[in-house]
Amino acid sequence: MEIREIDAAVITAAVKKLFMDCNYFIGADIMDALTSARERENSPVGRSVLDQIIENDRIAAAEEIPLCQDTGMAVLFVEYGDRVCVANGNFDEAVNEGVRQAYEEGYLRKSVVDDPVFDRVNTRDNTPAVIHTKIVSGSKIRITAGGKGFGSENMSAIKMLTPSYGAEGVKRFILDTVCAAGPNPCPPIVVGVGIGGTFERAAQLAKKATFRPIDTHHPDSRYADMEDELLSEINKMGFGPAGLGGNTTALGVNIETAPTHIAGMPVAVNICCHAARHASAEI
């Protein structure tokens, strides 16, 4: 079997570019959704807020500055080909070096503290990143990266539902979580939902769902319908842009699923603000 060598510096450069790009340039899916929401929004304040968000995102892209000051904690989903060998370093260190360079040289905010409870001292380079690595067949590395802001992260929730809750129970928990978040997570939001797996797999799937473009659907039509139905229900809640009232509370709902245990039906809801930042690259 032929092994492909990838220099650590190549990985670092790719990661650096991903984090700078995703913080400056909002995705076309989000911009399209903001623009069409602006047309449908029935609150004058809501329309004004959406105008400001759209203008903000244009300024950020034109001037290559972060669209939000919370440039997030660095999260990466990696598909790592099993025929790849990293030369001159190791993979996680190369990724963290890319994060370090992006946040320093890209004028991104360093928002990570070393110890969560007692010290809370800023690491001053936004490391360490949260890296989810899956080994796949092949000789490439595919990375989807995003800066996750914590205004919305803090509004997320997980619940170990059991099978008898059914689809109605799943929807109820998702809607309750969004309703409890209310005006706080910078609506209009993107709702990432992970269903199935174990406790931690559900949470990971929910995060992965927030990284999926919002103009896509779950491949199973039953979940795709659930995505549409939830989006419609959330937009009836009235929170609106910035939570100041209106019919645009969410831009998209993405569901990811996985097999689970006979006794379980875990559901995780990861809420993301309208600055839903992610970018992908293949090495």
């Binding site: 500055i65 004028y107 991104l108 205004g151 929170f239 910035a242």
Partner: protein, 183 residues
């Protein structure tokens, strides 16, 4: 309608503000968020003097991104206000005139706003690059070791915000969403 206010904000200015009003602020405001509030609060608990005088001031809950060369400040949008709810009543009782942030506040904060005839303003969360255009300069006043969380003084010009909770306790987060709720 949009009201223009020149800072420092007066009691008359505050009395005339109503929840839902759009406001453009010009003058100087303080900044501070989680870590700075914790330190200020601990000093108050110990009965010690604060390193910054809050009387008559507005404090903006923000942790800006670094400024790119050629920029006065980096992107600087509001952070979620509820995390400062534990500390805000004490600061309002000390003479702080108002806060600028985003999102809902707890009843203790609303009570302190009414008690002190203060005001809670909100800026648009996630509009950091746009908001920064109205911030003309910055100076770090204290807690520089906190990096982005240091306490700064911003000079602002037509800084856009909305009155979320006025000095009478009217609260847009309570009154507005129900008007658009259809479930």
């Amino acid at each position: 309608m949009t009201k223009k206010i020149t800072l420092p904000i007066t009691d008359e200015d505050i009395r005339d503000l109503r929840a839902g009003d759009s406001v453009l602020l010009t003058g100087s405001i303080l900044t501070g968020r989680d870590a700075a509030h914790k330190r200020l609060y601990e000093l108050l608990e110990q009965g010690r003097e604060l390193p910054v005088d809050l009387k008559g001031e507005l404090i903006y809950y923000v942790g800006p991104a670094p400024a790119k060369p050629g920029y006065a400040v980096g992107p600087a949008g509001p952070t979620s206000s509820y995390r400062m709810d534990k500390y805000a009543p004490s600061l309002l009782d000390l003479g702080l005139k108002g806060m600028i942030g985003k999102g809902a506040r707890g009843q203790d904060v609303i009570d302190a706003i009414v008690r002190n005839k203060a005001v809670y303003l909100v800026a648009i969360g996630g509009a950091a690059a746009l908001i920064a255009k109205s911030i003309k300069s910055e100076e770090i006043l204290c807690y520089e070791d906190l990096g982005t969380e240091a306490v700064r003084r911003y000079e602002v010009e037509d800084f856009p915000c909305i009155v979320a909770i006025d000095s009478f306790g009217n609260n847009v987060y309570e009154t507005e969403p129900p008007k658009y709720r259809t479930t």
